[in-house]
């Protein structure tokens, strides 16, 4: 799971790749994209980014960051 391009190791606790395969947005049930830099799971359909803390995806809409429409 290491990224050969970046010199510094990612500062985040790694998320289990098996989780990424089965997680969907809890509101829309649509697929998520993993934003490696911000360490978030992004739901375009819901306009929300779910944080990953200590390797644990926080799939709670009230904890998610609203995406700007930019």
């Amino acid at each position: 799971m290491t990224d050969p391009v970046s010199a510094a190791p990612p500062p985040h606790a790694p998320v289990d790749p098996r989780l990424l395969e089965i997680l969907v947005c809890p509101l829309t049930k649509q697929a998520l994209t993993y934003d490696r830099v911000r360490n978030e799971l992004v739901s375009r359909a819901a306009g929300l980014a779910y944080p990953i803390r200590d390797g644990i995806p926080i799939m709670l809409p009230e904890e998610a960051r609203k995406l700007d429409d930019a």
Binding site: R18, L19, I22, L23, P26, D54, P57, I58, M59
Partner: protein, 286 residues
Amino acid sequence: MTGMDEMHVFDRAAVRRHRDRAAATVGGVAEVLADAAERLLDRLDDTSRRFGRALDVGGRGVVAPLLRARGLHVVSCDLSARMAARSGGPCVAADEECLPFAPASFDLVVASLSLHWVNDLPGALIQLRQALAPDGLLLASLPALGTLAELRAALTEAEAALTGGAAPRVSPFPDLRDCAGLLQRAGFALPVADVEEIALLYADPLALLRDLRAAGEANAVALRDRRAPPRALFPLALAGLPEQDGRVRASLRLAMLTGWAPAEGQPKPAARGSGTVSLADVLKKE
């Protein structure tokens, strides 16, 4: 009555807080939780079906190791991230009313004593069924009507004596018949609900309240009385609990639910009108 939505019997923010706090203390009640979980997982021995991928819903660090010991890959979820982390494996913070799992992600879902603070239980069950692959199994246990009946009665009596009224201090529990109906409404095939009783005896009645809190089971009824209870309430109520050999008794009456995600090849009732033998003819022979 307030204008509160009737679906919101429980205060989910409070449930989450209680479970966050209990993540540090739940080890103290692991024995009771493990006993309840083992009884639920016993049902796995009744089927020849083999399971690979399991979802542990709210297993509080007790259920996931038991499933892993049976050779399953386990993902755990809990409303509280801290409680989810106790599973010791892959886990997510998730709301049972709004689950984040793709269809057919699991062959087995185990919810051991974790669905009784959910407002929309039919909705949660439907989502769990959708997370199951065809012919996947749901095992769930819920405290049923009769759980903590002694405590409920003692608290109500003591509060009525002190204040002339009573606030809900023990969560409302469903009755067994409701449970089987719920599974059916949520689209599970071959639904079964049965009851197991666990009796706990406490030398010190205060320890019962401490254990409930340690497990994250403090009152989260939305209409609970948020004021500090009258100082004499708990001493009076605990003194009123029925004793057995000098110890107070607390009953857990657990509804054990099993249901299957529908699949081809499962036993089903025959279609209406598909019979080839007339019942009237059979009965006439007598």
